[in-house]
């Protein structure tokens, strides 16, 4: 499935998702829409290392990275004022209060939905 979204053309989108298949699907969809993908990263350490060098335009993050909810990356993104959204299998109450205002999308999400989310993040709405 190929979805084109002009709003994403040329944008740099960080993807943090530990599941290879899902990460790969996201990458394919974002690239098809003209975006550049930073990642995808299977763990928070790699994503954090990349963030130290590149500032993406927006990010979509899986909250659960194998060894429990990790909030190091969202904190780094907040510091850099990069808009981001959570993709999560969790209900709201496992996400700390300081991220209460962060957009949250529960899995499974299809490619079209993720592109729409990324576009909204870039528009800041």
């Amino acid at each position: 499935m190929t979805v084109t979204r002009d709003g994403l053309r040329g944008a740099c989108v960080l993807v943090l998702e530990d599941d290879y298949l899902q990460a790969s699907d996201l990458r394919v969809a974002l690239e098809a829409a003209g975006a550049r993908v930073l990642g995808p990263f299977g763990n928070a350490d790699e994503a954090a290392a990349a963030l130290a060098e590149v500032r993406p335009d927006c990010a979509v993050l899986d909250v659960n990275l194998g060894d429990g909810p990790s909030f190091a990356v969202p904190e780094a993104l907040t510091q850099q004022a990069v808009p981001f959204a959570f993709l999560t299998g969790y209900d709201a109450d496992t996400i700390p209060d300081r991220f209460a205002d962060t957009p949250r999308f529960e899995k499974p999400v299809d490619a079209a939905r993720v592109l729409a989310i990324a576009e909204r993040l870039l528009r800041g709405t």
Partner: protein
């Protein structure tokens, strides 16, 4: 004798003219006595004695009962005091004749007598009032020896009679009072030994006098109380102190009733004890109520000390006054140290201020309710407790104190946390699997296979996923045995055991490694069935694995080696799902490597990744904390 008459002193309380003068001046010639000069000497003498006496005296003379009296006597005659002189008593006191006629007759018959405490109205201090007299009468004889008159001497005993009446009244009052609350009243001798009867004791206990005498009364006491009662009695008597003891006493109907015995010594004016007076007060109802109360309190105590909660009492602002033994058992803090705000000591420092704030509002809210952490020295950590208290109010509704408990909710909170985590993990797992399935579905369609083939592929992959999930959920938190997993996958391809060999140590795979590896093995086995070792009669498969130490981490190295397959048959038309899984997914998800090569004899694949405990989609390590 006239001289004697003349010596009569004037009577201060008498009428203006004394009786001596009246008798002297009376016209006796007009009376049966005749002129005084002719009176017999006996009459004259008696009249002289009478007039000289300070006693109340009257003389009744002759068959006509002519009345003479002295000044003292006139009080009794009231308004008749002058008119009565020299007249017949029968005439003068015709109406009350019956009151004295018999005595007068007896006197005239030569008899004498004393009549005690006769009540007569008398005129005193200008008022008529009752007075009491002991009345003596005696015959007076004339010169011939015949009884000629009767002399009456009255002694005023009014004060004595009034005092006696008052005493009697006082005794009655006391007896009524004592009788209203004492069941038995008695006296014993100075040594405390029963020597006299007590009808009330007999009625109360059913003991006869004989049974009670001496120390027999002890037999009426309950056997369990006897030694105590007798000791109390003997000690008090020896020490000359008031007796006050409580014991059970047999009642007339054979039952036992609690009694309070009280006795006090009666002393003579010199202080020596004359005897002891005592009584038994029935306190059965009170004692039974007290016993019931004690039993109730004892039960309550057992309950308070038996419940798992830590129980305490407090006054305003959470100042503790008491703590149950459980508090000391839990916190190792003594009851004394917990008093006041001492109990805040074992409370977690961060929780002290909020708890005190809750206490501050408790009186207004009418309830105290808080959760805080309490140090549990035996476990060397804080445990969560839930504290609750309700106010005890007086009849006006004011709070007297608070009764409270602390309930250990640490395990409960742990379980709730675990449950929350498990639910989150379950949600994650289900949603993740759906996402994986979505991905597999789209990747299984390479646009070249028939629908039938597509469905077959898809089913095989979903079945592999299902097998992994089944194993993982069956052994929640545990790993999966590598060899068993491989056998399951090969079995799913209907490969006979003769076609393959498995060789390697026993290895438990973490859930995540199992999930990734299972799907890879599935793809390899599917490929072998379609194009490789299992597609040909002489094809063979050897799977061997070992553990290697790399950078201080154990790595699993697994070799999949097919043989007996001509190389031309094994060339895949394009790089498919299986090869992507092996080449890309192992590095991405497990930090490992995957490769495959086609060589003469068939496909050879190597999969390598570090074995990490707890590398899990289900965060079992996090759950166990």
């Amino acid at each position: 004798m006239n001289a004697q008459v003349a010596t009569i002193p004037p009577q201060p309380s008498g009428p203006a003219e004394g009786m001596a003068a009246r008798i002297r001046n009376h016209d006796w010639a007009a009376t049966p006595l005749g002129p005084r000069a002719y009176w017999p000497q006996s009459l004259k003498t008696v009249v002289d004695v009478m007039l000289a006496s300070p006693s109340m005296i009257s003389l009744v003379w002759g068959a006509e009962a002519i009345h003479l009296y002295n000044d003292e006597f006139t009080a009794l005659l009231r308004e008749h005091h002058t008119a009565a002189l020299g007249r017949s008593a029968f005439e003068m006191f015709a109406r009350s004749r019956g009151a004295f006629a018999d005595d007068l007759a007896a006197g005239m018959a030569g008899k004498s007598a004393r009549l005690l405490a006769q009540r007569y109205p008398v005129l005193r201090d200008g008022r008529l009032q009752d007075a009491w007299f002991d009345v003596d009468y005696a015959p007076v004889r004339d010169e011939s020896g015949q009884v000629a008159g009767v002399l009456w001497t009255l002694r005023d005993v009014t004060a004595q009679v009034v005092a006696q009446a008052a005493l009697r009244e006082s005794e009655v009052r006391h007896r009524l009072l004592v009788g209203s609350w004492a069941q038995a009243v008695w006296e014993v001798d100075a040594q405390g030994v029963v020597v006299t009867d007590s009808p009330s004791w007999r009625a109360y206990t059913g003991q006869t006098l004989e049974e009670r005498l001496g120390y027999g009364w002890v037999d009426a006491i309950h056997p369990d109380d006897r030694a105590y009662a007798e000791r109390q009695w003997r000690e008090s008597v020896a020490a000359e102190q008031l007796v006050d003891a409580e014991f059970r006493l047999r009642t007339a109907d054979g039952g036992w009733r609690w009694t309070n015995v009280r006795a006090a010594p009666m002393r003579a004016t010199d202080g020596t004890i004359l005897r002891w007076v005592g009584m038994n007060i029935d306190i059965d109802a009170r004692r039974r109520a007290e016993e019931a109360l004690h039993a109730s309190e004892a039960r309550q105590q057992v309950l308070i000390e038996g419940v798992p909660q830590l129980v305490w009492r407090a006054v305003e602002e959470g100042r503790w006054t008491w703590a149950s033994p459980q508090w000391t058992d839990f916190t190792a803090q003594s009851r004394e140290d917990s008093r006041g705000h001492g109990w805040l000591g074992p409370v977690h420092p961060d929780d002290r201020a909020p708890v005190r704030a809750t206490w501050h509002e408790a009186a207004t809210r009418g309830a105290f309710d808080a959760e805080f952490r309490l140090l549990h020295p035996r476990e060397g950590r804080y445990r969560w407790v839930q504290a609750r208290a309700t106010p005890v109010r007086d009849e006006r509704g004011a709070i007297v104190e608070w009764l409270g408990t602390c309930t250990d909710v640490d395990d409960l909170r742990g379980l709730q946390d675990r449950q929350r985590l498990l639910l989150a993990e379950l949600q994650h797992r289900v949603r993740n699997i759906l996402a994986v399935i979505r991905s597999i579905v789209s990747r299984s369609d390479d646009g070249e296979r028939s629908t039938e083939e597509y469905v077959q592929h898809l089913q095989g992959r979903i079945s592999a996923l299902a097998r992994t999930q089944m194993l993982l959920t069956r052994n929640a938190g545990a790993g999966i045995n590598l060899e068993e997993m491989i056998r399951d996958e090969l079995l799913a391809q209907v490969a006979g055991e003769a076609r393959y060999t498995l060789d390697g140590p026993d290895i438990e795979l973490s859930p995540k490694a199992a999930e990734v590896l299972t799907l890879a093995i599935h793809e390899l086995a599917t490929n072998a069935t379609k194009y490789g070792a299992f597609a040909r009669a002489d094809g063979r498969l050897a799977i061997a694995w070992r553990i290697e130490e790399r950078d201080r981490e154990p790595w699993l190295v697994l070799d999949w080696t097919e043989s007996g397959v001509p190389i031309v048959d094994a060339v895949p038309r394009r790089q498919g799902f299986g090869s992507e899984l092996i080449a890309r997914r192992f590095p991405y998800e497990l930090g490992g490597m995957g490769s495959f090569t086609l060589r003469p004899g068939g496909l050879a694949s190597r999969i390598e990744f570090p074995l990490r405990a707890g590398d899990s989609i289900l965060r079992t390590d996090a759950i166990d904390r």
